[in-house]
């Protein structure tokens, strides 16, 4: 049967500039087949390689879009009109961190094509994405638990240049979760051990090592060369320092943190969303939130959280997908719950807000901000060395020993004859202490015990108080060398 094909003016160039053509056909498909037979240009312009209509072509039959009818199989009757008209849709491309120029400057050889084959198969990555990965430079700050999967997956994925920073050496306690380091790496710099791991996984990766502590003086110089920074550190000073340097230098920051069974990940990029300071304007009081070294962590958690960080890094490089900018992902492995919180940009943020007050890293006092400095106005806390304490215990001097550690810490190493009072209860329970007797406060590292002494002082306790310097860590070989019963 004969139907009338009406063609939108924008598509007429492909139909000999005709606005309407009469064609035979009983379905839309048949009419379009006739049309493209007669006008091969239209076939190329309006249909893709798969012979399907390109997305911009809408087909209407008697005023209804065929998508709402039976599609190309829609039946036609004599004198029906079929209308071809475009719809225009578009959008901004996802900008990865690697410019087109840099991407084009790298090539992949046959071995690389083999190695990264499974990336090349993904439409979202492909050759373009893999070249971006090769051109990319990522700095991993911290080579502990979170740094482990970051190092492994970024190296395996083919991130061309990986910088690794850590001032520490591998210790036996690290090996429970930091699987890039092996037993024979104990006492080696973590950077050296991590470099070996990267080279073993993927010798094509260029590795830059920085066996130093990140400081106000060196941070900008170090991160300047990198496209993305992954924060895998475990302390607030580093986090603020890294955040501020990233904001000032305009780098995206992939943040991760953990506590026992819970982890959190976010992407901070002040140019496109909030920064770390927007979410955490100030650190918690000194000694309140313990690091993993103090509180413990399940060995698999850094593997999970660090892998999510690595995944965010890859997406930032490749461009596309949904990134965690403006959001924070929280995961609790023990109860198996996960959720995403939105993180808002703080207009009053001192570094990325409307009226910033931090312009230079060197001019901001991170030690003071994070409460790491001894307060000059505060009465200094008197300390006692483990050796002196051991002597006094040995001589049988009357002493009160107060253990402010958490129950799980005490279960590893008990301090004999100590009174157990958590910091939160000290002020309330001060009458349990004898103000005429010397009182020694102990914790794991000798930091929370200072907080305990200051808390009691503020609460009006007048008796003599001493802090066990270096805490149980320092005391274990001196006071308890003969005890043997560590656990």
């Amino acid at each position: 049967m004969a139907v009338k094909l009406l063609i939108s003016a924008t598509l007429r160039t492909f139909a000999g500039r005709k606005s309407e053509i009469v064609l035979e056909g009983s379905t839309v498909q048949e009419v379009l087949d006739r049309f493209t037979d007669e006008y091969p240009d239209a076939g190329k312009a309006l249909f893709g390689d798969d012979r399907r209509l390109r997305p911009f072509v809408n087909v209407y039959v008697g005023g209804n879009n065929i998508d709402a009818l039976d599609g190309l199989e829609t039946k036609l009757e004599e004198n029906d009109t079929v209308l071809l008209v475009p719809v225009i849709v578009g959008g901004a491309p996802e900008e990865g961190v690697i410019s087109e120029e840099r991407r084009k400057a790298v090539t992949l050889d046959d071995k690389e094509i083999d190695r990264y084959n499974k990336h090349l198969m993904l439409r979202e990555i492909g050759v373009k994405g893999q070249k971006k990965l090769k051109a990319a430079k990522v700095l991993i700050a911290g080579l502990g638990g979170l740094g482990t999967p970051l190092v492994q997956y970024l190296a395996a994925a083919g991130v061309g240049t990986i910088g690794i920073v850590d001032f520490d050496e591998v210790s036996l306690t690290n090996l429970q979760s930091q699987v890039i380091h092996g037993t024979r790496d104990v006492n080696r710099p973590k950077t050296a051990s991590a470099k070996d791991s990267i080279k073993a996984i993927n010798p094509l990766i260029k590795v830059e090592t920085y066996h130093i502590k990140l400081t106000e003086e060196n941070i900008e110089e170090i991160i300047e060369d990198y496209d993305i920074v992954a924060d895998a550190t475990d302390n607030y000073k580093s986090r603020y320092l890294i955040n501020d340097a990233c904001v000032l230098l305009g780098k995206p920051l992939v943040f991760g943190a953990m506590y026992q069974f819970e982890g959190q990940v976010s992407v901070f990029d002040a140019r496109r969303g909030p920064c770390f300071r927007c979410q955490f304007p100030s650190p918690p009081p000194k000694g309140l939130v313990p690091t993993c070294a103090e509180s413990g962590v399940i060995g698999t958690l850094p593997g999970i959280i660090g892998s999510i960080q690595a995944n965010e890094v890859l997406k930032l490089i490749i461009g596309g997908g949904e990134s965690l900018i403006g959001e924070m992902f929280l995961f609790d492995t023990w109860n198996f719950t996960g959720r995403k919180l939105s993180v808002a940009k703080n207009e009053n943020c001192p570094i990325c807000g409307k009226n910033p007050t931090i312009y230079k890293i060197e001019e901001f006092d991170y030690e003071d901000f994070c409460g790491l400095k001894e307060d000059e106005e505060e009465v200094p806390v008197e300390g006692i060395t483990p050796e002196d304490l051991a002597d006094r215990i040995e001589r049988g001097e009357p002493l009160t020993i107060v253990d402010v550690r958490e129950p799980h810490e005490r279960s590893i190493s008990r301090f004999p004859n100590a009174v157990v009072i958590p910091i939160g209860q000290l002020a309330r329970r001060q009458n349990e202490l004898d103000p005429d007797m010397d009182t020694i406060f102990i914790c794991r590292e000798g930091k929370r015990s200072i907080l305990a002494i200051n808390t009691l002082r503020e609460a009006g306790y007048k008796g003599p108080m001493y802090n066990l310097k270096g805490g149980m860590e320092a005391a274990r070989d001196i006071i308890f060398s003969n005890e043997g019963g560590w656990l």
Partner: protein, 146 residues
């Protein structure tokens, strides 16, 4: 090549800034010469019909609007010579989606707006070679009104 009178290109800039952080979009009416030169004689802004929440990254000009523009253009002896849109905080380079929906032989000016200010504009023409369709950057000429 696409030719704009100064006031028309300025209209595009203004709209891109006003719609920021959303994408602006619209239809260009005018005349097309056989050698591929297109001259803009009217700018028809279109409401961005993308769903709420997606307008910062996407735009949509539905078929009805295009048909209406065609009819009004025909009354003046004009035709649709292109579609413009803005890229908020993103370069003036077409995305894959832009390419999927582009019609051969028309101009697609893209205005890059960074932090609410127009940064640059590039115009793209969809062309094809054998079976390959691709965007080619085209020259923009801006003329003072005569």
């Amino acid at each position: 090549m696409i030719i704009f009178e100064k006031r028309f290109i300025e209209q595009l800039y203004r709209e891109a800034q006003e719609q920021y952080p959303n994408e602006c979009c619209g239809i260009l009416l005018g005349l097309a010469a056989a050698d591929g030169e297109r001259i803009v004689l009217q700018v028809r802004p279109a409401a961005n019909m993308s769903p709420e929440g997606e307008k910062q990254k996407h735009f949509r000009i539905p078929s009805e609007m295009i048909l209406e523009a065609e009819r009004s253009a025909a009354l003046n002896g004009y035709e649709i010579i292109g579609f413009y849109h803005s890229h908020p905080d993103c370069e003036a380079v077409p995305s894959e989606l832009d390419a999927d929906y582009a019609i051969e032989g028309l101009s697609y000016p893209i205005i890059s707006v960074r932090k609410g200010k127009v940064k640059e504009v590039h115009s793209w023409e969809m062309t094809s070679k054998e079976d390959d369709r691709y965007f080619r950057k085209e020259c923009i000429e801006i003329r003072d009104r005569k």
